[in-house]
Subunit: 333 residues, 2 copies
Amino acid sequence: MPEFRKDIVTGRWVIIATERAKRPTDFALEPVENKSGQNCPFCPGNESKTPPEVLAYRVNGGAPNTPGWKLRVVPNKFPVLGIEGDLNKQGEGLYDKMNGIGAHEVIIETPQHEKTFDMLTEKEIEDVLWAFRDRVLDLKKDKRFKYILIFKNHGSAAGASLEHTHSQLIALPIVPKSVLQEVEGSRNHFANRERCIYCDIIRQEREEGVRVILENKDFVVIAPYAPRFPFETYILPKLHDSCFEEGKSYEYEALASIAKETLVRMTKVLDRPAYNIMIHTSPFGEEINDFYHWHIEIMPRLTKVAGFEWGTGFYINPTPPEEAAKFLREAVV
Amino acid sequence: MPEFRKDIVTGRWVIIATERAKRPTDFALEPVENKSGQNCPFCPGNESKTPPEVLAYRVNGGAPNTPGWKLRVVPNKFPVLGIEGDLNKQGEGLYDKMNGIGAHEVIIETPQHEKTFDMLTEKEIEDVLWAFRDRVLDLKKDKRFKYILIFKNHGSAAGASLEHTHSQLIALPIVPKSVLQEVEGSRNHFANRERCIYCDIIRQEREEGVRVILENKDFVVIAPYAPRFPFETYILPKLHDSCFEEGKSYEYEALASIAKETLVRMTKVLDRPAYNIMIHTSPFGEEINDFYHWHIEIMPRLTKVAGFEWGTGFYINPTPPEEAAKFLREAVV
């Protein structure tokens, strides 16, 4: 019997379609590979093909926008939002619009074109996390911004247009709707029970175990109870913490370690899938709070979103999260 | 300068990314074709490969589940929801779930495998609309159902797994979240202004003209002001009407005509794109009302949904709707 399950934070229902239950090999897998890149704008030596860097980590110094970096952050050459100007909110008859003000940056995670993110060392992944933090703390000084989304598109099925491994961030002058939904869901839970809803989830999941994929001292990785997509995976800090960028330094090391382990397992079980990664964190202004709990969501792109999902906001997921968790938990890597 | 635009009904913001402005030929178009089908379960002679039909239109009579039909409706062989049983709402610790009760049917729109939907005659498309109505009126008798979504996935990029042209319907025991958002947005507008929000939109769009694609006596086709996707298109009845299945009979004829014209133009301009079509209508119980206005949404699948969209609920649209409307309005077919 298929099941409706409700996401406890957002109230979103999903359908776990047991009649269509899918194992990893039932999907039309399209392995993502980084072929050796020619004319890649993210490769060393091609620094002039990107806008000038806003941040770089270099081992032995060296001039900006020259080779020798191990990580580099640049403005997106084709930004979806512009950094200059003000919002200039306007009506247009019935409608509302404003100027597309924001920042759009690219984090080039390694000079090595052929390495995918899961192939980076733990130390390299930790550097990426520090770069996220450095950029967020810098952009937060711009009081026009209310939220920054950090995300990664890996593989063309996940919307990536360049294969050289990179993440992106977009700083926004409004708090996005789906962020507000999570924050409000968490706030309501706290108002009723004086507890963080994610802390409650972590407690229940660790007691039950069926949806736990792995954990270390500081983080736990789970398949959520009501996932929209097969093999959707969350990484959560075990102790309550409402925002990513104010984390303690030892946490980034532990996070890099468990993120790599999670992606290596996913790469093995799903044969190098395309995926999206998003950091969910508190909006600026009340980023230190008792009710919201920052976390990372990983969504392998194995299925197509179709008319039913667009028309209802319901998602049909052919893989129960208990089965997805079991595959990832038991993967031998 | 890119623009933020707000969807007036749902409050959803989109980014019209002018720096990336795309014409039809800038997309990686993947034309959808129906090759002649072998072993297609929807072709005449293969009636036994589907569950027994629940409705068929036949020219000269003939027995059920035998050839001779011009349109056939069957339960989905791999339904996402089951028709038997009750909801049995339950908790699971913190979480909520219920049995996946619902109906999932397939409307096989023609016996001819090689014809795509836009190649059907106006009369054949009108039959499809009548079949939608017949099935909705029948399923509405089952008081467990609160909403029926009618939709079409065309092409594998839009989630179609079989190429023989067909639509689907899914009857649900709960009103989906995105339907509720539209209904509530419309209700609020009516509460403030005593006018239907869609009637207001139609009035403004017909006055301005820049986003109008075409119209006939009863329907108007527009590119919405804040579309999530390039070439997203709405078909709306000009006179206020809150639900699809209670339409007047002459309206289905006019709708079939304008739907075909719209799809023929889209096929021409975007070179046989994959697309999703959804009918947006009122939930059962208050389907006759002054505030909601049923309509059809067509979404060509030209871009991939990526991490930014999943993380924020914001959509980045590289094609301003004014340009999309112009291409479709001026298409010579």
